[in-house]
């Protein structure tokens, strides 16, 4: 069951002949060389494989690869430009929001989408939490991630 699809991956058009049974997570890892999507559950419970599809945050593990056809996909790999970190990435570094780093790619994508939607808005701490609640982290207790999100919103 193969089918040709194409999508814009981090700004570049890519074409793949994919097995339709594969998730976007698998397409990204196996076909596109994208390793920032991590597997913590494979059933949409942990958020470690989060990416943006047309700027909407999704779990790539429960998203059919075919659904990406014609869409714009953003992953962590596309966030830093010429060695310069995005504001969100820099905030995660500076606020000590990283420990083992396994949930970090998914979190940064969640924050990136949240910040884009809420620039210059007054968001509450509860809104930040609620909009990052699909990403689990066991190392940080979410405290410094919260700081990093707040900092990203300010910048």
């Amino acid at each position: 069951m193969f089918q040709e699809i194409s999508f814009i991956l981090n700004g570049k058009k890519r074409k793949f002949n994919i097995d339709v049974r594969k998730s976007l997570f698998e397409i990204l890892r196996e076909y596109a060389g994208i390793k920032s999507v991590k597997q913590g559950c494979k059933v949409g419970e942990c958020g470690a494989c989060s990416v943006l599809v047309d700027d909407v945050l999704i779990d790539s593990c429960i998203f059919l690869g075919l659904w990406a056809d014609g869409k714009k996909i953003k992953t962590l790999e596309g966030q830093a430009k010429q060695g310069k970190l995005s504001k969100v990435q820099q905030a995660y570094v500076n606020e000590g929001a990283i420990q083992c780093g396994f949930c970090t790619p998914g979190f940064i994508m969640a924050t990136t989408s949240f910040v884009k939607k809420n620039k210059q808005k007054n968001v509450t701490i509860d809104e930040i939490k609620k909009n990052h609640a699909g990403n689990l982290c066991r190392c940080t207790g979410y405290q410094n991630i919260l700081k990093a999100v707040k900092k990203s919103l300010r910048n």
Binding site: G96, I98, Q99, T104, K129, K130, C139, Y142, Q143
Partner: protein, 725 residues
Amino acid sequence: MTVGKSVNRVDAFAKVTGRAEYTEDFYRPDMLVAKYFRSTISHGYVKKIDIEKAENLEGVEAVFTYKDVPNIKFATAGHPFSLDPAYKDIEDKLLLTQNIRFMGDEIAVVVAENEIIANNALKHSYECGGKIDEALKNSDYVTKGKYMTPMVHHCHIENHISYAYMDDLNRIIIVSSTQIPHIARRIIGQALDIPLSQIRVIKPFIGGGFGNKQDVILEPMVAFLTQKLDGRGVQINLSREECMIGTRNRHPFHIKVKTGFMKDGTITAIKTDAVSVTGAYASHGHSVASAGGSKQSCLYPRATLKYNAKTIYANIPVAGAMRAYGSPQILYALESNIDDAALIAGIDPIEFRLKNIIKKGDIDKLADKEVLSCGLSECLIKGRDLISWDKKKKEYKKFKTGNIRKGLGVACFSYASGVYPICVEIAGIRLVMNQDGTVHVQVGATEIGQGSDTVVAQMVSETLGLSFKNIFVVQTQDTDISPFDPGAYASRQAYVISNAVLKAAKLLKQRILNHAFLMTDNNSKEMDIIKNNIVLKENNKFVLSIKELALDSFYHKERGHQLSAEVSKKTTANPSVFGCTFVDITVDIPLCKIKINKIINLHDSGVILNPVQAEAQVHGGVSMGIGAALSEEVIINSKTGYIHNNNLLDYKMPTFTDVPKIDCHFVETFEPTSGYGNKALGEPPTITPSPAIRNAFLDATGLKINSLPMSPNKLFDLFRENGLL
């Protein structure tokens, strides 16, 4: 000065850009995947196993059962080898088993081209017989006056994953998400009966461990499979569901505590009886119960202490090492009991503790050594202030009846900085100067997210006088390359390595200055290194830059050599660390929920090497402690041994929306046995949230809840029994 500064993590860039490579990110073109066939009953015997159908499926490379594996029982616990037979780990695990000991036990393994083929092979090819009997003692213990803690799981976001292949020298290479590469190498050798030198274990970045990867679980199997398949790459990548039953958990404990005290509040005796349930295999079972006792032994050092512990097997998933290793269980019981005692004595729980807790100069009776650094009293006093204890106590007097109750609680802990004298404490470091004057660092200390690479770089920078950014830690542990160190456990890395780092950095510094002498004729004793330059001690006058010196040391045709230093050092001290949790809660009686209004952890961990990273450790530990206190529990069907919630939806680890703001404060002491004054920090933050919340609940409701988690279901039953609902 670098030590004590909140420098960014050395791996931060790699981790925010996705460049950090974890085990799953490595790919071999010949890689096969292996899947375990696990038992579907909790106790019994495999009567018949027919693998022919599975073997003949297209895409199936091989099938192995318990009949095919070496008949060698091995221990999986990640402890250093012990020369003393009395401290040897219990050898009770075969690679695959015929004798089923829990639901999920490993009977066979299928190696196939991909996961779907492997899964299908498992589906269609096995019949297994046996009997379902052996009621599980674990899950139905409900005893009054006793304390009970349930089985909880680590929930590192990266599941267990390993792969193996054979190299050009016909050796087995295992790449694994492990906390203990050097120990894993030894155990693989033992399990397969091959010499240690034929095995190389590589640990790339690892997505959390919390003790669950201080056990050798997949490594011997992938090594066995690659050996059987002529060196082809074979990977086992556990699903979350498998990881939650087929790896390790925290030991459930059943604990009785008796505390004797005088009218004036002096504690005279503490007797603890603990039963720990290790599940189907020993793993760390024999040592967790004893560690839980010994690490709390110096909290109330002037009382007479008696600690009895038993560890029992049960037909449930295996318990092993988990953050704070027995202490969360024992201290939940002890600190609950201390609060009950304070209540009877009519003394404020803080005052009661201040009167009895350990102080600097007390004798740690178990180690028979004087405690050289202790800031526990300061932690309690500071915490009382930070939570406005006296003011809130008054304010909350009006919240002791009705539907909404409020209360305050506190609990203390003591912990250790390593495993000496039970096991050896050894750490190694190699410093190598590069041509440009920067230094590469190789350590056996295993970075698992806790930040050990970063603090090692800080220590090196501090002693050498080089900028932090000029110190590069090789962020992979590889048994072929990394100096020997047993690995990441017991909160030991930063403490145990501190003296090795200090010694190695001093040695390298001396060699640098010796070379500076060759270049300048200044006496090496009269020179120092400050900010990447050699200077004269007396007036800080610039002599030459490290960069010039490094180049000269490499390329001058006659003088010098590549400058390096290597130290392997054993530590024979094990300083205790201390701290406490303060918590302010609201109890909603009709909804059976506890809400944390404020929670503060205070720690004496000696000198804090990197405040931001240290706080981050506390945040994570407290959050895990809150989960254990309020919601986390592996739910086992007591009749069948079936696990109801082995996934991240049904197992209630806290989400972002479940963790309150966590405050953190350090009372810095200086530990003289440590290279940089630092002591342990990694595990302790998770110990006291449970008893502190339990004590606050007692304050709020007058009810004792002596079983974890304090979940809505349990609160409902308690309120019903006591007529509150």
